[in-house]
Symmetry: D3
Subunit: 244 residues, 6 copies
């Protein structure tokens, strides 16, 4: 559609994009994509336990702290842009105006692909809500009658990035991305998340084990690619190709 | 793994490959792949009604006729090779030796990708049996202890081609292939199936409507590719990529 | 319940009923049913690309045009009635009052069966939203405490009509309806959709291929019915019968 | 196809048909169908605990006793015929010859519909095996090249009757049959099962509660049919109809 | 977490808790748990047909009557507490304030486990809505930033109790609870539901048949426990144990 | 049933039990269970790549080597017994006699619970075959008519242990077991697998991350148990309990 290749990540809370698709962000940025991150909330109420344990903490202080961490992580990944919709969390809930702001962003970015959460998450209803919003706003962005005259959206893939406890979410990856070349950037972004240090090792283990899956599925002991770190994604829509 | 790109189609009965992946065969052959077709049976008992309605027909005569049709269709598609395992149909049932012959073929071809039927088919248990055999023989071909010294198989994708009555089979395509450039070859192969003329229009409709799906998923009214004919496939294994 | 047999089609956008169940509407009307169509929106924003490409087009003009097309199609099918709820599209969203208006309509019609969209549609969230509304309003219409004194609803079947790209929606038909006697009416209704001419051939192909499925499932080469055109539906509730 | 309406029940063990579809057998027999029951085994090893607790019991004695019970139950239901294939149980396993005998029976009966077990049963692998055999033999019976000259089978529905612990089997009924008129016959057949008296009340409860489901789905408190006893079935294939 | 063991039942309508988990309530209360019941609505519009058939009935009168029945049933079960949120039914719809009241209750109770409805219910959308609310409010109750300073919730199991027509809801029990010791209390609670006498036998049958399932799964004829009555539940989250 | 608590692990290949349930074996052994491991094959053809790369290797030599590793691992775990059925691998295929030997073992052990592979595995059909055999032989072991006079089996749970690439197998754990106290034993057993050193880190990562899941599901930041290593299992049958 355009010369420029772009991508848009829709993250329910401020830190989600780091653990789940930090490698994809850094890698595509290195490949010349402009990757934009949209944080629907800061995770200020539900994913900032460490901050709330401090005396006298306020909601605004938590938001500022979380925003700072997310911006630092986005910078570590070399992301093109990060936007905060500040729609509130636990529960996340976008009204029509907020959805239309997200549509504006989608149309502005004109992403080659989008990313969001799993379809189901009984631990965190914000996550599945964000995915539904992503599908709904993708549809609105395709409507010729929404802000007529604007460039409408094509048909970008929506990749669901890896949730915590994948099997409980019914999430099944159909593509593994080799993120070995940008692993250092992802690790640096992870270390920006000062409030969630208990997850650093967890997601390093995930990246290593997804690397094993990459090797297996690219040929295993009979020719598999020596990827050390990988990320997995589940596609919502079928691909269209000229060669299998 | 090798310089030569190859593919292997495992077809339960002689004609299945024509309707379900004739376009993929012709297209990849044009792209320099060597595509081999393995017909596990001729469909001699169960898919040759028109022949059996002739007086004095014998099983051998049916096999010869069906083999002829399949070879003509393979030629029309420009397929590299077509092999007949003659394992019998309705029901299809391969013993260990026949499975090992299929393993031999898989290893000889060293396919970049394989194709077979849907995982479930309550109308035609031969179809789902063939898919199970394809998965089992793929596994055996990967075993270093099977005929030690032979080149073992890597990790080729197994694509499930389109069954009849897709929804009843629980088949869901995740990739559409534009077969517009080779449609004439596929139609010619279809017309080799003299005994099943009632299906010519059916699968032409399918190809046209899959073309619509290709256009939709490649961008729709906002930039979709003008494919006229397409085929759909369901992938069993995740892909491994360097870019989404 | 009553002497008169009736049916109610709940269509998210103005044109959906034509492609997806135009045959069922015309056929049951011929059989003496009174079939009412409820269009929740005109599809004015999201399904009117051709109109929006005209200079100076306004939302009201699009609505008028789409309403005209839908009324013409309903007339071509011989439908008893068509109602427009004008709830807006992309996204479709009914508030409590609008839902209660739909409940009023359901109670007035007292349908023998209802029809709506598939349960899942990642391309078009309006569609799955409409189905949820249909289930919710069916439930409200059954409540003795909703507008006490009104005749409450029985337990009509809810048929999900055929979506675009059936496999992506997880839609599985469990009944095929022979629409051969009314095919001309359905085709005429299809041709009322001037803005979507690219779908005319598509849905003619669908009708032909569903005819093939009808023949197969009614006996195939050993006695199948010679249906030329058919429509498929998925039932939400179990049937109750006196004979299998 | 023929003037005579017929049905065929394929029961893994001798008693299965009684609990699971005794009502359907008696009811259709009263409606003029000829219903044939095929018991693949006697349930002699796995479903005859009470007999095996007797001193000196032999396999042949158990078979004779179980056969007697099954014949008495079939008589109580007024079944047209009952056939015993004696293929062994725990595990049930039919070789090619035994399958072809079942095909012979299917062709002889030319059933309007068939019945068998659920698709999945982790408690009793014989049950799911029987269903697979039913699907496979239905397919063979449709083959024009199997015993050419015989009348081939059409496309009868395959109903899956109610398993024990329905939810564990993933069984979902899509049709309820009112068996109130023949309940006395079903109860009499149940009482023929002297070795399984602990199940009499269980399946009476099932029949009563399925009667509740029948009432609900036929209209509930707003016009539901006053069925007292019912049986539920899951259909494998879509129906073909002229009216919804 | 605390010395006291507690449980919280979230019931869409006033009577649901009686049929679906009355045994679990009475049993755990006897074991020293404090069980709290939260009725989101009285079922005043949709589940009080008998009352609405009386002349001059008003919504408030129905609420009072239903509340009385529910309190009597809770007393019969020995429940620790019953709370009514009066959020309205058919449809049930909680705004943010009402959700936060439910969160307050969850935090106050600090339940060892929670209970609610099935994930899917096409007959009664209130039921699946209640389950979604239960998951959402469980998540909010875990947020350190929601009413900072309050004791946050741990990770209680959410059990889905038995719906009507289990198979239609896709509900699958993974645990059976022996309620034989408290059956008399459950039956007494059931008989408090004067308006739904047609369900008394139904749910007695259910309890007896679930008793059969308990016996089967605890050893069957080779050592099963002689439970006479049981209830089944589906778990949303995995368990954490020190011994299998 | 008996005083002694016992367990039986059914492993398709020699090494499977180490990675997938080594912790459960060691832990239950420490708790006084007698845990028996049944290796259906040595994985001699398909899971011994490193050995086959040595010059002059024979099938018998591979079997001996693999047997030695498995015995060493079993010893490291403190397992009560390890049995080798030597049924062959790639493909694994048990005839009736071999199944009956497994039934003999099941009856001899009288396990409180059994363990085997996932229900589906498109990478390794031996795995899903082993699970089917486990279910079938469990059923045969329950048959009073199989070797009458022997003690029949009760109703032990069948736990499916963790496969490689869990999401591709459709495997979903419903229970996490804290194996922290025996982690050293599991790691020692893992290190017995000299031929598969590339998996040591992989399964250490898995154990650590399952530890995270254990902590989350036992209370998370609000009281979760400080497990460092865990294993996950999927249950086939419902549990029967006296308290939730």
């Amino acid at each position: 559609m355009t010369d420029k290749k772009t991508a848009l990540v829709i993250s329910a809370h401020a830190a989600d994009f780091v653990w789940r698709c930090g490698g994809a962000i850094a890698l595509h940025q290195e490949k010349g994509y402009e990757v934009t991150i949209a944080c629907l909330s800061f995770g200020e109420r539900g994913e900032s336990a460490k901050l709330w344990k401090q005396d006298g903490m306020t909601l605004d202080q938590v938001k500022v702290a979380r925003k700072g961490e997310a911006e630092a992580a986005a910078a570590a990944l070399g992301a093109h842009d990060i936007q905060f919709l500040d729609a509130g969390d636990y529960p996340l809930d976008l009204d029509r105006d907020q959805k239309f702001k997200l549509v504006d962003l989608i149309r502005k970015v004109q992403p080659s692909f989008m990313m969001s959460h799993s379809l189901y998450d009984p631990y965190n209803t914000d996550h599945m809500y964000a995915t539904n919003v992503a599908m709904e706003c993708r549809m609105i962005a395709q409507a010729w009658g929404h802000n007529p005259g604007e460039k409408v959206l094509g048909a970008p893939q929506l990749y669901l990035f890896e949730p915590h406890q994948t099997e409980q979410m019914g999430w099944k990856p159909d593509v593994f991305l080799d993120i070995t070349p940008v692993w250092d950037k992802k690790r640096a972004a992870i270390e920006c998340m000062q409030g969630q240090e208990h997850l650093w090792t967890y997601y390093t283990n995930v990246a290593e084990n997804r690397g094993n899956h990459f090797r297996r599925n690219s040929g295993g002991q009979a020719g598999g690619r020596a990827a050390k770190y990988a990320e997995g994604f589940q596609s919502i829509y079928p691909r269209t190709v000229d060669e299998l």
